[in-house]
């Protein structure tokens, strides 16, 4: 019996070594250590042995069983490791292949510019006002010190709907509307929106474009406040190193009036194609609100003063991104829109 046991042990150990995977190994375990396996049989047959032989044989069988079990576990560990290795091998992929695309859209470059400006002014305590695109002649012109027949009306070729109704030529009518709505209280607003002029569309003209108007009304608002505010705007849009300069100009709704140049962001002011070798680029117009405009808006022009400015969003976007044709903004070519997807700067 002892001999038989040794032989079984040898057989089992040989099969364990031969097992090439966990299933085969399990088969070996079941075959030798299972309930119906030979070692179990041997244990069951122990009853026939004499009481003297029983402990000796018992110890022997246990030793064999422990040895086989230990060998099984050892082999199992090896095979498991091997199986993991195989799985990893099988699951290896080409990590340089492209990932599954998550569709992402983005804002139109004009919206991008407008929101950037909105956010700057919100941080300075401004509200955003909006108004209708179809306007009354009164709000678009008359309330802005441009009575009927005023020569300066020629500065803005207008689409009329009726004699008294038109497509707004600028966002300035929102000024008049806001003043009436604020009923004499100081305020500061910016108003972005679509405006329309009777222009033939070409690389630099568009019959529809976006303007952003700013208006601050309060006691003791100074021209220096306008300058400081526009300086902040220029730095936000074109970089912290930018400077602005004001030039006298004329708008019927402001007095004094200014055109604002920003130092060229391409050459830093030394002169290049973008700034036509002047070092400066005209970006917007503004001025101190004309007393007639304040009065028509219900503000005492002796007590209140204000400043206003108007920016063309297209102009800013064209300068900022180097866009060479204003029509791109309204053509909406995928290849154009997709370029304004990412963040910029630091």
């Amino acid at each position: 019996m002892e001999q038989q046991l040794k032989q079984l042990e040898q057989e089992a150990l040989a099969k364990i070594q031969a097992a090439s995977n966990l299933k085969e190994l399990n088969d070996v375990r079941v075959a030798y250590l299972g309930k119906k396996g030979p070692i179990t049989d041997l244990l069951k047959g122990m009853g026939k042995l004499s009481p003297e032989e029983r402990p000796k044989m018992g110890a022997l069988v246990n030793a064999v069983r422990e040895n086989v079990t230990a060998q099984l576990e050892e082999k199992a560990a090896v095979l498991e490791e091997q199986a993991i290795q195989e799985q990893l091998e099988k699951e290896s992929i080409d990590v340089t292949l492209p990932g599954r695309k998550v569709r992402q859209g983005n804002r139109h470059p004009l919206t991008r510019v407008i929101e950037e400006i909105e956010d700057l002014f919100i941080s300075m305590g401004y509200e955003i006002a909006e108004g209708p695109e179809v306007e009354k002649d009164y709000y678009n012109f008359e309330a802005l010190n441009l009575p009927k027949g005023h020569p300066a009306r020629d500065m803005q070729d207008t689409f009329y709907i009726t004699e008294e109704i038109l497509l707004r030529t600028h966002t300035s009518p929102v000024q008049a509307r806001t003043m009436l709505a604020k009923k004499g209280e100081p305020f500061r607003i910016i108003c972005p929106g679509k405006v329309f002029r009777r222009d033939n569309d070409d690389a630099t003209h568009s019959h529809q474009f976006m303007q952003i108007e700013g208006l601050v009304v309060g006691e003791d608002i100074r021209m220096s406040d306008l300058k400081g505010t526009l300086d902040a705007l220029a730095k936000k849009m074109f970089g912290a190193e930018r400077e602005i300069r004001l030039r006298p100009s004329f708008f019927p709704f402001t007095e004094p009036s200014v055109e604002v140049d920003v130092s060229c962001h391409k050459c830093g002011g030394s002169g290049c194609n973008v700034c036509k070798h002047t070092g400066w680029i005209e970006i917007l117009g503004g001025g101190m609100v004309h007393p007639n405009v304040l009065e028509m808006g219900g503000y005492d022009s002796k007590k209140f003063s204000g400043f206003a400015f108007g920016i063309g969003a297209e102009r800013i976007a064209m300068l900022k991104y180097g866009v060479d044709d204003i029509r791109h903004f309204y053509t909406n070519d995928n290849r154009f829109l997709a370029q304004f997807h990412r963040t910029e700067g630091v």
Partner: protein, 801 residues
């Protein structure tokens, strides 16, 4: 306004400044110099020549062989094709080596076998615009006066050694529409004096009033003055005058007409010269035209007048349209001997309206429209008398015949230095302010803390304190204004709830993979109401520039579809765009239309294209609907939104839904009709449009935390056989209503139509989730609830599979 610096120098000393520097100073002080034009354009070797002889070219009909003296004893052969070249003329010769405008280089050459040593030039060849070249020389070479010296610099002689500043004038600075006005501006900038022309002339013993009487019958003409000059000799003007005019962009005609134009440019006061004899009567009557009255103007056009047009008449018929253009019937011609010079003040609004109506803009109307200087009207008439005597040999009759009701007093502005500094945010001293006002030649006095200023009438733009603020600031220098930010205000900035939600709506669209498009609000009659939610009165332009942009849109979809088509035509295999914009509804004659902000989208072509993984998805209705649903989910409206089958012209009748919020229609979603797709050359294309205002303004509850469920939910599935036409949404609604409060969710998880179903049937499988937040559900509770659902379904005729 074109300002010749040679001319300007007659009134103000600018010799110490380079033209570019002067231009920069003018620009920085308030008048933008658009261009600095060197009239010589770098030309060299252009001299006076004397045509000694002219013979026909032996081998070319149109060419002449000329012997031209271009310096003492230097006679050269030059071939010339101009029809007007003749022996004995003094001409302009470009010698070999000369460079002319447009990159032309003159070389020795042979023309049809004959040697040519240079070119006899026309003014156009020297860079002068054809429209200002005198008519006599418009089609040939220019002929110089006899006293020109051969070999001398021809450019100097014809005034091309000059620089012209092109001013871009804003409407307020009409004072700078004259050389004197520019001189005052430059003098103020440079702290110089202005040298005004001295006016002196002799008069005859005859009186003007014996020749002409003036009557004014219209308030639009507060001042009309006439002077009479006899025995004028009509001739070419002296060269300097002609070339000043050409530099200013005016074509010389004859001395009389040129003198009126010269004074128009010099004083900014338009004048008109009538042929006294052609007037036929001895009176001038200014009145409003009779409706339909006709006049042939100087440009030989017949003009029909309206009753509000102001005309100058001879008492019988119009001889000029006041301030706009003279009549052909009284034109100064080569036969004229006696002229009547008109100097008048016509009201701007009247001239503006007339010139606009007639489509007739002239140098004259441009000045009257903006208001001429009341104090220069009579002065200009005097200046004309002087020049007619000096340059046309005329005899000036004594006196001026005038009707004069014009207010010529200067505007008085009283302003305190403190006000000026407060508006500017600066501390400019009183002395500096006075100095600036003196430079401007304003009459100023400081008294009791105020500046009392009498503004010369040439500066019609200065009326109020703020105007003085600007004058002081611009001449002090805008660069000196410090930079501050507004103080003392009590307003918290920010977006309104609507504006914030609109940004979120954009984020949803972009997160779903759509690019934002911005398309035009103006569209064509055909597209204006296409896809509009309902028929509303449209907003049409009175005078559109094209039919394509003549009316405001009532739906955003048409332009988005056009944009999709544009992109597909350029090989885009996937188009996904959205737009936020207003539509314009219910225009009336008196009231503005209602502007409703909408959001719309278009998707076309591929949606998912992960090529190497083999994953592809073309857009379909449910992609579009999924995007719309995520918008509603983000806005907290999912529960309140329903969809029902709808028909919309232009959309697929079987793939279109109306979108309802709380039962009210707020939008539509659908597939583009195959016919439309064909028209726009599009494959599968889906669109949606939603009234953004309605969904952003819908009130939604605040977020209140609900405990995270501690008890498991139980799901039960039901598969139903339904008619193909029965909307799953209706069945969901039945289940939802029947499922008691334990039913938390109903989802469609399978839809099947096909072989295993009858032709007009479909199978729809729903997954129902039951849940009790208080405790674990018992089987019995679920069974009870589910029974109710099954019963309701049975009642609705839905058969359980």
């Amino acid at each position: 306004m074109l300002v010749s610096l040679n001319w300007l120098k007659q009134y103000v000393d600018i010799d110490h400044l380079a033209p570019q520097d002067l231009a920069e100073k003018i620009t920085r002080s308030g008048i933008e110099v658009d261009a600095v034009i060197d009239r010589s354009q770098g030309m060299t070797n252009v001299v006076v020549g004397y045509v000694v002889s002219k013979e026909k070219h032996p081998d070319a009909d149109k060419l002449n062989v000329c012997q031209v003296e271009v310096g003492e004893g230097d006679v050269r052969q030059i071939i010339c094709g101009a029809p007007n070249v003749a022996a004995g003329q003094k001409v302009i010769v470009a010698l070999p080596g000369a460079r002319l405008p447009g990159g032309v280089k003159i070389k020795k050459a042979k023309m049809r076998g004959q040697e040519s040593n240079g070119m006899i030039c026309s003014l156009q060849e020297l860079g002068i615009e054809g429209r200002v070249v005198p008519k006599d020389y418009a089609d040939g070479i220019y002929v110089l006066p006899e006293d020109a010296v051969p070999g001398s610099d021809a450019l100097e002689l014809i005034g091309l050694r000059d620089t012209v500043l092109e001013l871009g004038l804003t409407p307020n600075r009409s004072d700078a529409l004259s050389m004197l006005g520019v001189a005052y501006e430059v003098a103020a900038i440079l702290s110089q004096e202005v040298n005004l022309p001295e006016i002196q002339y002799n008069t005859t013993s005859e009186k003007a009033e014996d020749y002409i009487q003036v009557r004014v019958e219209a308030k639009e003409n507060p001042l009309y003055a006439a002077k009479v000059v006899k025995n004028v000799k009509i001739a070419q003007s002296p060269l300097w005058l002609q070339h000043y005019l050409m530099a200013a962009g005016v074509r010389p005609h004859n001395n009389v007409v040129d003198i009126t134009n010269y004074i128009l440019m010099e004083y900014g006061q338009p004048l008109h010269a009538f042929d006294y004899d052609a007037l036929k009567t001895n009176e001038i009557v200014v009145r409003l035209a009779k409706e339909g009255e006709k006049i042939i103007t100087l440009d030989d056009q017949e003009r029909t007048l309206k009753a509000h047009n102001l005309v100058i008449t001879n008492g019988e018929e119009p001889v000029a349209i006041a301030g706009v253009m003279g009549g052909a019937n009284s034109e100064v011609t080569s036969d004229t001997t006696t002229v009547v010079i008109e100097a008048a003040y016509f009201e701007g609004f009247s001239v503006r309206r007339t010139s606009k109506e007639l489509g007739l803009r002239s140098d004259s109307s441009a000045r009257f429209e903006k208001g001429v200087d009341p104090n220069r009207v009579l002065l200009a008439a005097e200046r004309a008398a002087q020049l007619l005597q000096e340059l046309a040999g005329g005899e000036v009759l004594e006196g001026t015949v005038a009707v004069d009701d014009l207010d010529k007093t200067p505007a008085r502005v009283v302003v305190s230095p403190d006000f000026i500094n407060a508006r500017l945010g600066m501390k400019i001293s009183l002395e500096d302010m006075l100095e600036i006002l003196n430079r401007l030649k304003f009459d100023v006095e400081a008294a009791n803390g105020f500046l009392i200023i009498d503004v010369p009438t040439r500066r019609q733009d200065i009326k109020i304190e703020e105007d003085i603020v600007e004058e002081i600031a611009r001449l002090y220098g805008y660069d000196e204004i410090p930079m501050t930010l507004p103080v003392n205000y009590e307003q918290v900035g920010g977006l309104t709830s609507y504006q914030a939600k609109r940004r979120i709506a954009r984020n949803v669209m972009e997160g779903a993979g759509l690019y934002q498009a911005v398309t035009y609000s103006l569209t064509s009659e055909e597209l204006a109401q296409k896809f509009a939610f309902k028929a509303e009165a449209t907003t049409k332009l009175l005078m559109p520039m094209s039919e394509e942009r003549s009316i405001l849109r009532q739906s955003l979809i048409p332009h988005l579809v056009e944009t999709a088509s544009y992109n597909v035509a350029r090989k885009a295999d996937s188009v996904a765009l959205y737009e936020v914009g207003s539509v314009f509804l219910g225009q009336t004659a008196e009231e503005l239309p209602y502007e409703e902000e909408h959001i719309a989208l278009v998707i076309s072509g591929k949606w998912v294209d992960n090529a190497w993984q083999g994953e592809k998805l073309t857009v379909d209705f449910f992609v579009a609907k999924g995007i719309v649903e995520s918008l509603f989910e983000k806005l907290g409206l999912t529960e309140r939104v329903t969809y029902e089958k709808a028909t919309v012209e232009g959309l697929h009748p079987g793939q279109t839904a109306a979108i309802l919020l709380d039962g009210e229609k707020v939008g539509l979603i659908g597939g583009l009709h195959p016919a439309e797709r064909k028209k726009y050359d599009l494959k599968e294309t889906f669109v949606a449009e939603i009234n953004l205002q309605a969904i952003l303004e819908a009130e939604v509850e605040e977020i209140v935390y609900k405990p995270i469920p501690r008890f498991p939910a139980i799901t039960r599935d039901i598969a139903l056989v339904l008619d193909r036409s029965t909307p799953a949404g209706e069945i969901s609604e039945i289940i939802r209503k029947a499922g008691t409060k334990l039913l938390k969710d109903v989802k469609v998880f399978d839809v099947y139509e096909g072989d295993k179903m009858e032709a007009d049937k479909k199978s729809v499988a729903f997954s129902l989730t039951y849940f009790n937040p208080e405790r674990t559900l018992t089987d019995e509770e679920v069974v009870n609830a589910h029974e109710k659902v099954l019963k309701a379904l049975a009642e609705a005729g839905a058969e359980v599979r």
